[in-house]
């Protein structure tokens, strides 16, 4: 159904290649992610999913190919500038700022939407008069409070990020990414280390984020989660795309079942 109404392309990938020495982590990958979709990216370990995220966010430079976001090539754009254009991500191995509190962590995400340049933030920090909290700070705090409530972390505001249990750290990463007000959100195994109840909550959260108008690319090994909420699924193996389509189509694709799960497994 969604395919029929899919409008413009949010993220277009054209012939994207990344080599590590002689090893092709991604080989001539081309795909399109439509606005408002939850697009799942699945594949066995080492298929190139996290590399794909690193290339799209600019953490690693691509060897060849183009990354087109909202009609603009972003290959040579720095990661922070891509975030300002509207690409946000979470990390597979959680990368929070261990000494910041939950509230501060989310406010880091909001920084780039509040201050358009370093000089502005410096001027605001040093020259703001009278010596009270800047309006910007109050706005950021309000936004962060709202996001934390959205993700059920409201009562953990003053806790240190590194003191949270694993599942909540994942949620905090999500909150931090959402605070950058993304149009495209890359989730790298958000359900890893979560218990079934938390995974169910996550399902709900991801859907609600999508309903806010955020396009989502989801890398995940929890097939129930993936098949339940995705609009489209792309399957990678050894850096190349081996299948793409609706969850139903992927579930019954013999190529996928063989390459991804071995021959006898029923999804």
């Amino acid at each position: 159904m969604r395919d029929a109404v899919a409008s413009a392309v949010c993220l277009g990938i054209e012939g994207l290649t990344k080599r590590f020495g002689g090893f092709y982590a991604l080989n001539e990958l081309s795909m399109e992610v439509a606005h408002g979709h939850i697009h799942a990216l699945i594949g066995p370990n080492g298929a190139g999913k996290t590399t794909f995220f690193n290339l799209v966010t600019g953490v690693l430079p691509a060897d060849s190919g183009r990354i087109v976001f909202n009609g603009q090539v972003v290959n040579d754009t720095r990661p922070s500038k891509r975030t300002i254009r509207g690409i946000a991500r979470t990390f597979q191995n959680i990368r929070l700022f261990p000494h910041l509190t939950v509230m501060e962590t989310v406010m880091i995400g909001a920084h780039c939407r509040t201050y358009s340049s370093v000089w502005k933030s410096f001027g605001k920090a040093v020259l703001q008069w009278p010596l009270t909290e800047a309006d910007e700070e109050r706005r950021m705090r309000a936004n962060a409070t709202e996001l934390l409530a959205f993700l059920g972390l409201a009562d953990k505001r003053e806790a240190k990020a590194s003191d949270l249990p694993y599942g909540e750290q994942r949620k905090l990463e999500l909150a931090r990414a959402l605070a950058t007000q993304p149009q495209l959100l890359l989730l790298d195994e958000p359900a890893a280390g979560m218990n079934p109840r938390e995974t169910e909550e996550l399902d709900d959260v991801i859907t609600r984020v999508r309903d806010r108008g955020v396009t989502i690319i989801l890398v995940e090994h929890d097939m129930r989660l993936v098949m339940g909420i995705s609009d489209r699924v792309t399957v990678l193996n050894f850096g190349t795309k081996i299948a793409e389509g609706t969850p139903e189509k992927i579930q019954n694709d013999p190529v996928v079942i063989e390459a991804y799960l071995g021959e006898d497994v029923q999804l």
Binding site: P79, S80, R95, H99, E104, I108, H111, F122, E137, T180
Partner: protein, 319 residues
């Protein structure tokens, strides 16, 4: 301003301790973004020479020269900061160390600023203590405000995970450059103050050991809060003076208590040990550094310990 109640010796002690505090803050700013610099002595030299050239050769008033000294160091800081952006950890240490060496070699070989004879007859600034105190107060206010601001948080996030900060939209390049440049400005101010207090300097005045000492002030005091550099510099400057005072007390011990074995040896050892000059000072600093790394690797004062100090208020707010 202080003539009435402190003698000249105390005053000069306070001035050099205060200059060390400012130097410690110059290390603290880039450190807040995770950049560890051993080259702050080099920036001090730039500030010192730039300001001394202005006052001694052109007769420009000290206040103006001080500002120019800071700015000159800041410009050099940004130039050095660019290559420093790309490298981290031990490599950044080496780069900044190399920078400080280059500055000292230039000072040695440039005859205009005295070359090997050193730069002498720099006009003495009689208000150095007032300047030092004023600058420290301004610095503390600025850093307190940065720490409570979004920029301060962004700096902390860069220190803790640069890649994650960049991906969250923090302009890591500009903020690191700003911090490095600001650190250089502060170091330049410290250098200018030093030059017009000591009135003489040469290529060895701002040497590598000074860079290490500046690093130690922050390591000992704690680099995670803006009170750390002040505390570290104060403590490390107070130690030699305290030991010297203890030696004076030791001399009060009656001779008949110590003129037999083994007391005479013990006395001599203690007396020598408390003579806190040059080489022994370095040994003591080394020991302090090792002990700090074992018992309080984050420094005497950390954000957590400050939080604990504020605990009653904190608890009340979160009850």
């Amino acid at each position: 301003m202080f003539e009435g109640f402190i003698d000249g010796y105390t005053k000069s002690l306070l001035i050099f301790a205060g200059i060390n505090v400012i130097a410690a803050y110059s290390f603290y700013v880039p450190f807040k973004t995770g950049q560890v610099s051993l080259g702050q002595a080099g920036f001090m030299a730039v500030g010192a020479y730039a300001s001394a050239i202005l006052t001694q050769k052109f007769g420009i008033p000290f206040a103006v020269a001080l500002i120019f000294g800071g700015l000159a160091a800041g410009v050099i800081g940004v130039v050095v900061g660019f290559p420093a952006l790309r490298i981290k950890g031990i490599y950044l240490l080496l780069l900044t160390l190399g920078f400080a060496e280059i500055v000292s070699v230039i000072a040695l070989s440039w005859d205009y600023v005295g070359g090997a004879q050193g730069f002498g007859r720099i006009p003495f600034n009689s208000l150095t203590l007032e300047y030092v105190i004023g600058i420290i107060v301004v610095l503390i206010v600025i850093f307190a405000r940065i720490e409570r601001s979004s920029l301060g948080r962004a700096m902390d996030s860069i220190h803790q995970d640069e890649t994650a900060a960049e991906v969250m939209g923090i302009d890591v390049v500009r903020i690191k450059l700003l911090a490095f440049g600001l650190g250089a400005v502060v170091a330049g101010l410290a250098g200018a103050l030093y030059a017009h207090q000591a009135t003489y300097m040469d290529s060895t005045t701002f040497n590598i050991m000074l860079g290490v000492e500046i690093l130690m002030f922050v390591v000992v005091g704690g680099g995670s809060t803006y009170w750390g550099p002040l505390l570290g510099a104060a403590v490390l400057n107070a130690i030699p003076e305290t030991l010297r005072a203890m030696r004076d007390w030791l001399e009060l011990v009656p001779v008949e208590w110590t003129n037999f074995y083994p007391m005479n040896r013990t006395y001599q050892f203690l007396y020598d040990f408390l003579d806190f000059e040059n080489a022994k000072r370095l040994i003591a600093f080394g020991i302090i550094l090792i002990l700090m790394m074992i018992f309080r690797p984050d420094g005497l004062l950390t954000r957590d310990s400050l939080r604990r100090l504020r605990l009653p208020r904190w608890k009340a707010r979160h009850a």
